[in-house]
């Protein structure tokens, strides 16, 4: 059964067409990678799905229900949560409170339940040692994990990760990939944008390639990497 359907979504900012007639569907419990060069429209696509932007035309359907134009908080409570490309925090709340807010409001947990869940998710991402610290003291890699814990705590079955591995070193990337596999084992569906090809190859079941706002390829990661249009979009014509 399809969880999410993006139907003919176009997004214009003035004369700039950020997304042009993008279509794809997402099935339960899969990991979909969205790749493409800088400016291809990956973040705009995420913003449209998460309610941060409204599509100019087209529709986004989540479990049979149109969600285009809904406010971000409503989309989150329906079951879609997103991390930010630049990891966001409530800087002066503690790390645990950051996650707590998402549990309280993402699926309406009571305060004691939310506190328990916050600590569980922090342990899950390996940040339980930092629970009591102010969130602003975290390093970049830790912020990304805190952001992941927050998104998981909303209880949303569908999770959008916007370059959640950017700025991480090799070891950290491997740890992040393993962590996301564990997230899938918990029954969540994931959409991941990433620049790090190796991470996508090892993680995604399927990839969608965007270039200048258009979908230029879709399929299994290994096949897509050999696709001539994709290679051209990334490397240009004269790659030999």
């Amino acid at each position: 059964m399809s969880v999410l359907e993006v139907r003919g979504v176009t997004k214009r900012f003035g004369s700039l067409v950020a997304l042009n007639d993008v279509n794809f569907t997402l099935t339960e419990n899969e990991i979909l990678g969205i790749i493409g060069p800088n400016g291809a429209g990956k973040s705009t696509l995420f913003n449209v799905i998460a309610g941060l932007d409204t599509p100019s035309t087209g529709d986004v359907v989540y479990r049979g229900r149109s969600i285009a134009g809904l406010r971000p908080d409503a989309v989150c409570r329906l079951g879609i949560a997103k991390t930010f490309q630049i990891p966001q925090l409530f800087p002066r709340l503690s790390v645990a409170e950051n996650v707590l807010v998402a549990a309280l409001y993402g699926h309406g947990a009571s305060l004691p339940d939310a506190e328990r869940q916050a600590h569980e998710w922090l342990a899950f991402v390996g940040l339980d040692g930092k629970a009591g610290l102010a969130a602003e003291t975290l390093s970049v890699a830790e912020r990304r994990r805190a952001d992941l814990a927050r998104v998981l705590a909303t209880g949303a079955p569908l999770i959008l990760l916007d370059e959640n591995m950017a700025g991480l070193n090799q070891t950290e990337v491997e740890a992040a990939v393993a962590l996301l596999r564990k997230v899938r084992e918990r029954g969540r569906t994931l959409v991941v944008t990433e620049h790090i090809m190796l991470a996508i190859l090892g993680l995604a079941d399927r990839v969608v390639v965007l270039n200048y706002g258009e979908k230029i390829a879709e399929g299994r990661p290994a096949d897509v990497m050999r696709d001539a249009t994709v290679v051209k979009a990334y490397l240009g014509d004269a790659h030999g």
């Binding site: 908080d73 989150c76 925090l89 409530f90 709340l93 309280l104």
Partner: protein, 310 residues
């Protein structure tokens, strides 16, 4: 610790008027009034991060609505002031729905403009509306109250209510949501918080406290006029007291109100003509050397003591 201290202070304040003369009771009433106003302002600015420069709208609405219920409907004061608070809540709901969507400085400017407009509407009301309320620039006289202890207790109750509300925000779902909104409203929204509804609930609630204070002050003064009830000077005094005491702390506004009222009282009687210069200098010095306010100083002193003991 601070909570128990506050509870003990509250118990003392409950019986205080029995033992002392009229002047200290009146002075305490003034402190409670400002603590209630600064505290209500602090709820919105300190917890939800919305700097409201138009709280006098609720103050003025409360004063004139209370007066109208007393004079036209002949209702007793306590009933009138609660009804006045209810009127202010309805108006705050209507005004807050669009203005609370403004972000940051735009909300501050928008509410400042709102307060000035409210003042002009109040001044012009009786000329254009067949149901006179404000007396235009001449204002409205209220019946003289017998005694002053009533005002002491009403202001004490509002101050206690506002402080209790701030304390309950420290550890409650509503409080966590508001602090999330104050820290990063976009992230709060992405985490499922309906930021507009949360802010509006707080705005309407604080409007009730401010309006009850305005209604009580009006009856206490027994004369109100629009220019004074809607004056921005009131707003700035609330802001200064909340900042001096400690923004986003439950007891900060009480400390700020106490300090500034007592300093004005003491310096005002000693140096009648230039005491405001001293007040200004004190405010500048405190904001330079204790940017976290008086609550921040108290916390710093406590930490020093603990570190010294170990």
């Amino acid at each position: 610790m601070a909570e128990w201290l506050a509870l003990a202070a509250f118990a003392v304040l409950l019986v205080l008027p029995l033992g002392i003369g009229p002047y200290p009771v009146r002075l305490a009433t003034v402190i409670f009034m400002w603590a209630a106003l600064a505290g209500a302002w602090n709820l919105l600015a300190g917890y939800a991060g919305s700097v409201d420069l138009g709280p006098v709208v609720h103050y003025g609405v409360g004063a004139f609505a209370t007066a109208a219920f007393m004079l036209k409907a002949q209702l007793p004061f306590l009933v009138s002031v609660v009804l006045g608070g209810a009127v202010a809540m309805v108006i705050a709901y209507a005004l807050g729905t669009p203005t609370l969507r403004l972000r940051g400085a735009y909300f501050a400017i928008g509410t400042l403009a709102l307060a000035e407009s409210a003042k002009e509407v109040a001044l012009a009301w009786d000329r254009f509306v067949p149901f006179p309320l404000t007396g235009g620039s001449a204002g409205v006289s209220l019946p003289l109250a017998t005694g002053y202890v009533l005002f002491y207790y009403v202001m004490l109750a509002v101050m206690a209510g506002v402080t209790g509300a701030a304390l309950s925000l420290q550890r409650s779902k509503f409080g966590y949501g508001l602090r999330a909104v104050g820290e990063n409203d976009r992230l709060a929204e992405a985490s499922g918080v309906n930021i507009h509804r949360l802010r509006r609930r707080l705005y309407v609630g604080s409007a009730f406290a401010i309006a009850v204070t305005g209604g009580t002050a009006g009856y206490w003064l027994s004369y109100i006029n629009a220019a004074e009830m809607f004056s921005t000077a009131m707003t700035f005094q609330m802001v200064v007291m909340a900042l001096l005491g400690g923004l986003g702390t439950p007891f900060g506004p009480v400390l700020g109100a106490m300090f500034l009222t007592l300093a004005s009282e003491y310096l005002g009687t000693r140096f009648v003509y230039y005491y405001l210069i001293f007040i200004g200098a004190i405010i500048v010095a405190l904001s330079l050397f204790a940017p976290a306010g008086l609550s921040g100083l108290v916390q710093l002193a406590r930490r020093r003591r603990i570190e010294g003991a170990t």
